[in-house]
């Protein structure tokens, strides 16, 4: 067995970058992903904003627009990344991807990050919707930190998608899990409902999930708070997800090779 060469290691970012680019191109062509990333968040944003206007006006429209935007990113991650390996298997491309010299985890990372990036459509769509339809004043107190927060949110959700993509592959009915976990994460991470309204036992779960810190960072940057701590938590969550994802992909890959079940349908 030969060791890892410098040349190969330098090629790793290229593998991730091209994987990200091609996944972005493919997902941008998918009607289902566009529905998930644009139409669905707009419907949820409209519901939340209309309820806000009918209710006590306790929270600004922009609060809901940002939350609905991250809801869209989460949905694309759940459906796009959760089924990433299953989809490659269905297309018959899983074996070639595992066989290539590049580490499989990097290939998968490009796919999951690309999918999460498509979710950014939802952020743009809900902000525009809030301004045009609901007359919200969409102005960011700190646009630079807002951009940094958005990038960190996408990266952390993409890496969370890496964990989901590699663990869901062991479960044949992964789409059922995707259907099930969309709402609870929207709820416990405080995307539309403030965490203070939720029971205390749900808070530790919220702190372990990147959308909580992502939306906190974006709201702080938009409303003039301190977004850096939340961005830092996003970074920490990303590193944890990366470590878990790398380990899980290794386990799944070894197990599939040993039992010759890489392509079971």
């Amino acid at each position: 067995m030969r060791g890892l060469g410098l040349h190969e290691a330098l090629g790793w970012p290229r593998v991730v970058a091209w994987g990200w680019f091609y996944q972005l191109k493919m997902q941008a062509q998918s009607g289902f992903m566009l529905m998930t990333a644009v139409i669905q968040p707009l419907i949820f944003a409209s519901i939340a904003m209309a309820d806000q206007q009918a209710g006590n006006h306790g929270l600004p429209i922009l609060y809901y627009a940002l939350g609905a935007g991250i809801m869209g990113i989460w949905s694309t991650v759940v459906f796009g990344c959760g089924g990433a390996l299953s989809w490659q298997r269905h297309q018959g491309t899983l074996e070639p991807l595992v066989m290539v010299p590049a580490p499989f985890v990097l290939v998968l990372m490009g796919i999951t990050l690309g999918t999460a990036t498509v979710g950014l459509y939802s952020m743009g769509a809900t902000l525009l919707w809030a301004a045009v339809v609901f007359g919200a004043h969409v102005q960011m107190a700190d646009p630079y930190l807002f951009t940094l927060g958005a990038v960190m949110t996408v990266v952390s959700l993409g890496l969370l998608g890496l964990v989901m993509g590699s663990s869901f592959v062991l479960y044949r009915n992964s789409n059922a899990i995707s259907n099930m976990i969309e709402y609870p994460v929207w709820l416990v991470t405080g995307l539309l409902v403030p965490l203070s309204l939720l029971p205390g036992w749900s808070h530790p779960l919220a702190y372990a999930l990147a959308p909580t810190w992502g939306v906190e960072a974006l709201r702080s940057a938009a409303f003039g708070g301190q977004p850096l701590p939340a961005i830092g938590w996003c970074l920490l969550a990303s590193l944890v997800y990366l470590a878990v994802g790398v380990w899980l992909v290794g386990v799944v890959e070894r197990r599939a090779r040993q039992t010759a079940t890489l392509n079971f349908q």
């Binding site: 519901i47 789409n175 099930m180 709820l187």
Partner: protein, 275 residues
């Protein structure tokens, strides 16, 4: 034994209709409904709707609009559309996807029996999802509908499940021609949340959306459900239930006409199963 003795005697036309309606409908449900196994059914048809109810109840509390009962009744009735919309779309348009539409349309079976039979299991599934939603809401959220109106509330749920099934039939029929009908089904499922007064009071919506809501399933059924849950019986909820039933019949009729139209045009072009 002679060859003539081996041929089974033909069934009476009425019996044939019911056999295709009941047995054919059940078989098609088992074959085409993706989420029928417990591993799919529990997360998708029971757990996800439960989380949906919780999500919107908390959203309503955060926004300070409506009561817990407003969101519980709206969502518990709306979740029947998961079975109605997705189930019927699968039950009709998946025949095309699995390339089994041509053999079915080559049989002399009554088309109405083939068509309506697919709706019955979906309707029952939608009804039980609603009942499960109400049960969970009673246990978790302390929702207590007026006991005297429970039979009528169940009637409203049943009629709404039927009208959602009619709506799903129409989408499924469109799936005989359109390439990606599940995209339309997804949009329809989420759009009814906004338009039909499930999460937002109807008076809050712009006039065109309010007009659209009147011809969509759920709107009248949910209105009836809210009145009944609040203990208001009498003519108003009954009228809403009747309107809901009428909307469902209109959608089912439109669906059947579309189905026959696509069948005829498919025969002309020889392309039933073209994807």
């Amino acid at each position: 034994m002679s060859a003539a003795a081996q041929v089974a005697p033909p069934l009476q036309p009425g019996r044939h209709f019911w056999r295709v309606f009941l047995i054919g409908g059940l078989i098609s449900y088992r074959a085409l409904f993706y989420w029928i196994t417990p591993w799919q059914y529990i997360p998708t048809m029971l757990a996800a709707p439960t989380f949906q109810i919780l999500f919107f109840v908390y959203l309503g509390r955060a926004a300070g609009v409506g009561s817990t009962a407003f969101f519980v009744v709206g969502n518990c009735i709306q979740i029947c559309s998961m079975s109605g919309i997705y189930g019927m779309t699968m039950a009709i348009s998946n025949e095309r996807f699995f390339q089994t539409l041509s053999p079915i349309l080559a049989t002399p079976s009554d088309r109405l029996a083939v068509f309506l039979g697919r709706g019955l299991p979906v309707l029952i599934s939608g009804f039980q999802t609603c009942c499960f939603g109400f049960l969970v809401s009673a246990l978790i959220l302390g929702f207590r509908p007026a006991p005297a109106q429970l039979p009528q509330l169940l009637l409203a749920v049943l009629v709404t499940s039927a009208s959602c099934t009619g709506f799903g039939m129409a989408l499924g029929s469109v799936g005989l021609r359109v390439r990606d009908v599940f995209l339309i089904a997804n949009i329809a499922y989420f759009a009814v949340l906004l338009v039909c007064g499930v999460e937002v009071p109807l008076r809050q919506l712009p006039l065109p959306l309010r007009a659209l809501a009147q011809i969509l399933p759920l709107t009248h059924g949910i209105a009836a459900g809210r009145l009944l849950a609040a203990g208001r019986g009498g003519g108003a909820p009954l009228m809403d239930i009747l309107l809901e039933g009428l909307v469902g019949i209109c959608w089912a009729t439109a669906a059947y006409l579309l189905f026959r139209y696509f069948e005829r045009s498919g025969r002309r072009s020889g392309a039933f199963d073209r994807l």
